[in-house]
């Protein structure tokens, strides 16, 4: 991307290391194959073909990512990785760790999307049919289902894989849109409570487009400052400090707004509760786990590579954002009466804890955050999987009052949900404790002790709504007309079991994954 007006008589084909990009390419290839399946396969075969393609593509990409990290010559002998595709994509150890995390979590989310035992599917038969119309009823009776969600999910996951790997801001912007656009659509595809779902889609779309406009204008300012959109070039320009500082600070601020919106940090969190509540629950699980991991990956890369020399300039602003995020998320969680909104506010507070890892601005901060993201991702997918199982005749019973006495109806499901809640609260012997410990320790090393104090305080506040739900589930009488816990098929069963197993294992023996994250973070990102 080094453009110049000098004319060249021959055009040399750019070197393009396909191998290092293979996990991303495989996911996109599976997505395109999914579109072809949608177009040509007979309706009866479509669903099973889609499931095989999606799960196969994600599993294959995971294997490729692990294999690259283990055997590729760019990583051999402690080398940090390399910048590929004419400087637009950085493939380094943290990127591979983040990509592998996204792929596993996406795999588990696709298991939830594929669930069909308690209803045909979680998705509307015809998104174009007006809710409550005769057309919609016909679609329901005919047993139609939107199988487009599978390729859309794969496109979104492809964008998520590219987003944290993008080494220039244009690639990052394109990846941001590739991951966002399918998510906007999928938010509006819920089978039940369709008006809510469409409203979620509209809110997410308008606010998402608004925030990506800020991101883009920030890119324009930084391009004006450095004359290039490559992260390393921006870092070099900032170090020499010859160009206009106004452009640089405006660029950092606008870019920061775009990225912080995606992770749902206060004051850019307004979309999160509404979107999490309205979207189909499997899609909420995908957003709460994979999108968060991906957005934090990009946030880390931008702030560590492009603005790594300016730590003292961006830190104060991020301190304020992190403190607000931790406190607002946990305090408002107390007032929630809907289980998905409760999990959304909890996710806002968790984003605040991970921001303390970013502010630490050291390798321990990066490795702690990566560990936290993996641990939190599994717990949150498991929690949303359980939300899909508690149902009444109108669909999922999301109001907390209907969860009363769930422990007496189904001790196993209520017990697992309680496990995920205490993991979110960060009680020892769960993954949440190991994650918080890693992140907060890094923040103290990075000189952010007051943030850690706020973080611990916020966790204590956040424990209150969790404990209330646990008490409600186990120590109150079930309502006679209350919801039932449906028996999950293998898909949801595996998702819940994986979430619970990872939550417990990372709580008891966090060391293997923690040292893998440390190993991945030692040299930070390539430039």
């Amino acid at each position: 991307m080094t453009g110049s007006l000098a004319s060249a008589s021959t055009i040399a084909a750019p070197a393009f290391e396909w191998g290092l990009l293979s996990p991303v390419l495989l996911v996109f290839a599976a997505a395109i194959a999914g579109v072809l399946v949608e177009a040509f396969a007979p309706r009866t075969l479509r669903r099973s073909l889609h499931i095989a393609l999606s799960l196969g593509g994600l599993a294959g990409a995971f294997i490729l990512a692990v294999w690259l990290g283990a055997t590729n010559s760019h990583f051999a002998g402690g080398r940090p990785g390399t910048v590929i595709a004419v400087g637009t994509v950085g493939v380094d150890r943290p990127t591979l760790f983040i990509q592998a995390t996204i792929l596993v979590l996406a795999f588990v989310s696709v298991l939830l999307i594929a669930e069909s035992s308690h209803e045909v599917t979680s998705f509307t038969p015809q998104a174009a049919a007006v809710p409550g119309s005769a057309e919609e009823r016909e679609g329901l009776l005919a047993g139609l289902s939107h199988t487009e969600v599978y390729p859309l999910t794969l496109f979104a996951v492809g964008g998520m894989l590219l987003f944290p790997a993008a080494n220039d801001l244009l690639t990052m912007f394109i990846a941001l849109e590739v991951l966002s656009l399918p998510l906007y659509l999928m938010c509006g595809l819920a089978r039940r409570r369709r008006l809510l779902s469409q409203e979620a889609a509209m809110k997410y779309f308008l606010l998402g487009a608004f925030s990506s406009a800020f991101f883009l204008f920030g890119v324009a300012m930084l391009y004006g400052y450095a004359g290039s959109v490559q992260l390393a070039a921006i870092a070099t320009a900032a170090q020499s400090g010859t160009a206009s500082a106004t452009l640089l600070y405006a660029g950092i601020a606008l870019l920061g707004i775009g990225l912080l919106f995606k992770v749902g940090a206060v004051p850019f969190q307004a979309w999160k509760p509404d979107v999490y509540q309205g979207a189909p629950t499997p899609i909420t699980a995908l957003m709460a786990s994979c999108t968060l991991v991906s957005a934090f990956g990009a946030l880390f890369r931008v702030f560590y590579v492009a603005f790594g020399q300016l730590t003292w300039d961006w830190r104060p602003a991020l301190w304020v954002v992190a403190i607000l995020t931790m406190l607002v998320g946990s305090v408002i969680a107390i007032t929630q009466r809907d289980v998905k909104r409760l999990l959304a506010y909890s996710s806002i507070a968790q984003a605040g804890y991970i921001l303390t890892g970013l502010i630490a601005a050291n390798t321990a901060g990066l490795s702690g955050s990566m560990f936290y993201l993996a641990a939190y991702g599994f717990a949150t997918v498991g929690a949303f999987a359980i939300v899909t199982l508690v149902r009444d005749p109108a669909g999922e019973a999301n109001h907390l009052s209907s969860w009363a006495g769930l422990g007496k109806r189904s001790p196993l499901v209520a017990g697992l949900f309680a496990l995920f809640l205490i993991a979110f609260a960060g009680i020892p012997l769960t993954s949440g404790f190991s994650g918080k410990f890693a992140v907060f320790r890094a923040a103290i090393e990075g000189g952010a002790l007051p943030l850690v104090v706020v973080g611990v305080l916020s966790s204590a506040i956040l424990a209150f709504p969790y404990v209330r739900v646990i008490v409600l589930m186990f120590f109150s009488e079930p309502a006679p007309e209350g919801p039932v816990v449906v028996k999950p098929s293998a898909y949801t069963g595996v998702a819940v079991a994986l979430g619970a197993a990872v939550t417990v294992v990372l709580g008891i023996i966090p060391q293997p994954l923690l040292s893998l994250a440390n190993h991945a973070a030692t040299q930070l990102f390539v430039r």
Binding site: G3, Q198, M202
Partner: protein, 100 residues
């Protein structure tokens, strides 16, 4: 004499008009048009900066942004029309089923 700096100033003005429009207008379509105005303000800034730096990157980025904006229109209008058909209203104030 009009210098690239003037174009930057204009793009900032357009961006602010777009951002204020998103915040104060109530019709979802108009809100969306304001977002498009913000994207085009960024395009203008890219092209003007490309001129200042004597490079091609900015002009090239503007093309990418146009494609992204077009894709956004496709997705956005699909969502907005489906909402309009269900509610007979495109006001963002009417979409208030979820609160707090």
């Amino acid at each position: 004499m009009v210098s690239p700096a003037h174009f930057i100033a204009l793009s900032v003005i357009l961006f602010v008009i777009g951002a204020v429009g998103v915040l104060v207008r109530r019709n979802a379509i108009v809100v969306f048009m304001c977002v498009e105005l913000m994207l085009n303000a960024a395009n203008l800034a890219f092209v003007a900066f490309a001129r200042m730096h004597n490079g091609l990157d900015g002009q090239l980025i503007a093309f990418f942004v146009m494609v992204v904006a077009a894709a956004e229109v496709v997705v956005g209008l699909a969502i907005l029309t489906s909402i309009f058909r269900a509610r007979r209203s495109a006001s963002v104030d009417d979409a208030n089923l979820m609160k707090y």
